[in-house]
């Protein structure tokens, strides 16, 4: 018996959320008096997973699984969970994990709680807290099934080091043709750009920027910070920025360490999508903008004056702290 954690990789490299998921799995394993087994699908350097508390890795190397396939990945994880007799299975909240989660839950006959931010409050009965109502409340849920599936919210638990000696075993799932009834024909993804999902810092701008031609300073600020760029809904509806940058209730969710909102008033739909970010900064010339009520730090002022200044001073700061 062991707690199973699905550790996501991209082109063989483990994602930060994989280490966070292992850290969390270790916490649950300690509560249950057991160990952590990680399942990796085509990930390289699995040794790293021991650093965060995994004592075993089930290593799947399979060419058919080179591109993500929700059904085949869910079946792989379910078979690993069965082999390990795992009482609890942990996944992250990436787009891929959210895709496979419901398939996996039904497959394992596991009660599923997504958006979990903390360790369970008790393991018998198994009770766990998660965010609901777009982070405006927490629910405590009791899971009554034998196997439990937990979807860990991004950037909530943190990456915790916990050096553990690790063994690696090859694992070959048995997959059926039906697993490949959905096929990826092509992938469009910006290279060398920090994605909103993976970013520690997100720089977001709204209609206060007056037009798409003024986004140069937003991109430059993001570059200085190593941040992803994002935008408000009106900006994407107006076609100033691509839809993929729209963050908010009907856009992408953001759970970064730092969210900088420039010229965004802070409509409730926008805040619903970004309020799980840890620290929020707002720059807006309207002191009545609702975002000031949701933010930690604010500058009441003109973005066209303050953003270039911020870029300049951050460059100095980066040089001095390099």
């Amino acid at each position: 018996m062991s707690v199973l954690v699905y550790t996501e990789s991209e082109e063989g490299r483990f994602k930060k959320i994989a280490f966070e998921a292992v850290s969390y799995a270790k916490g649950i394993a300690d509560m249950l008096g057991t160990s952590v087994t990680a399942i990796s699908i085509n990930g390289n350097n699995t040794d790293q997973l021991g650093k965060y508390g995994a004592s075993k890795v089930l290593q799947v190397s399979n060419d058919q699984l080179q591109s993500f396939n929700a059904s085949a990945y869910a079946d792989t994880i379910a078979q690993a969970a069965k082999r390990e007799a795992s009482p609890v299975v942990i996944i992250s909240s990436s787009a891929n994990s959210k895709y496979l989660a419901p398939l996996l839950a039904v497959n394992m006959e596991a009660g599923f709680v997504p958006n979990v931010t903390e360790l369970p409050t008790s393991t018998s009965p198994f009770k766990i807290s998660s965010t609901v109502f777009s982070n405006k409340a927490f629910a405590t849920t009791e899971i009554t099934t034998e196997t439990k599936l937990i979807g860990l919210a991004k950037n909530a638990f943190g990456v915790l080091e916990n050096d553990t000696s690790l063994t690696t075993e090859a694992f070959s799932p048995s997959l059926s043709e039906n697993d490949f009834n959905t096929k990826v024909a092509s992938i469009e993804k910006a290279k060398d750009k920090v994605t909103i999902a993976d970013a520690d810092i997100v720089v977001s701008a709204g209609r206060g920027m007056k037009g798409p031609e003024n986004w140069g300073m937003i991109e430059e600020l993001a570059e200085v910070l190593g941040a992803a760029t994002a935008c408000s809904k009106p900006v994407s509806d107006l076609g100033w920025r691509p839809h993929g940058e729209h963050v908010g209730q009907t856009g992408k969710p953001v759970s970064s360490n730092l969210y900088i909102a420039i010229g965004i008033s802070g409509a409730i739909q926008h805040l619903a999508g970004v309020n799980s970010s840890k620290v929020k900064v707002v720059i807006n010339n309207d002191p009545e903008a609702p975002f000031f009520k949701a933010a930690d730090y604010g500058i009441v002022g003109d973005a066209f004056e303050f953003v270039p200044l911020l870029i300049e001073k951050l460059k100095e700061f980066k040089t001095n702290n390099a």
Partner: protein, 246 residues
């Protein structure tokens, strides 16, 4: 093509979130309910299939009689028939089991749900329906074209999107992008009048096991007031030394 659109009846985004009965129940007092926004994008795409490809569109919801105005709104937008499974929507798996049963009975080719409901944010019902009925599944769907039984769909991934080839029967979880915000329809008077005479069938739930149950709610501690600064040096100093995020 027969399409089933799953509609979640959710509090409007601007609702105040409060709980009653010792923090065990959502307080619906004074709350306005709407069609879940992600479902509305999917419903609008279903209308496109109805108009361009002659599809039949049914809508379904799991909930008590109080959810019927939401179903009537979907009928006013243009759905042909509504089904209400007469049971409280207790958890995602329970709802998925009920909807899978409706899906099997009605032999639908395409089932459209939303990426997540804006109340419980579970994001699990469409995928569970797919697994329970043996249909294919595309999550976070931002485009879908159907030709015969062949489907080309686009899915949002972290940092981009992906084109997927699959086939009917299919379940998709829609979101903004499957249609644009500007494509959403406000029911007109004719639609509202017609909706009154369209069938709204009430079905009793099937028995199923319960996998999870919410035992209580709480609200996060209220946030401290914003710290206003008037220069960027001070801001950088606070982000570095106080918040420790840069």
């Amino acid at each position: 093509m027969k399409i089933l659109v799953c509609i979640s009846h959710v509090p409007d985004t601007t609702s105040r979130i409060n709980f009653t009965e010792g923090n065990s129940k959502f307080d619906t007092n004074g709350v306005q309910f709407v069609i879940n926004p992600n479902d509305e994008f999917g419903l609008t795409r279903a209308m496109w299939f109805k108009e361009k490809q002659g599809a039949t569109v049914h809508v379904v919801n799991v909930g008590g009689p109080e959810t019927e105005p939401t179903l009537r709104k979907a009928l006013a937008i243009g759905a042909d028939e509504a089904i209400r499974v007469n049971a409280p929507a207790t958890d995602g798996f329970y709802v998925a089991k009920q909807l899978a049963n409706i899906a099997n009975e009605g032999e639908y080719d395409l089932i459209i749900g939303g990426r997540e409901s804006i109340d419980y944010n579970g994001g699990m019902v469409p995928g569970m329906i797919a697994k329970l009925t043996g249909a294919n599944f595309v999550n976070m769907c931002i485009n879908i074209e159907v030709e015969g039984t062949n489907v080309t769909a686009a899915r949002e991934i972290d940092g981009g999107n992906e084109i997927i080839n699959t086939s009917l029967p299919l379940v998709v979880a829609g979101q903004k992008g499957i249609v644009e915000e500007s494509d959403l329809r406000i029911p007109n008077m004719r639609g509202i009048m017609q909706a009154r005479s369209k069938p709204l069938k009430v079905k009793e739930p099937i028995d199923t096991n319960i996998e999870t149950k919410i035992t209580g709610f709480s609200k996060p501690d209220s946030k401290g007031a914003v710290k206003l600064v008037d220069n960027v040096d001070e801001l950088i100093n606070l982000l570095h030394n106080e918040a420790k995020v840069i």
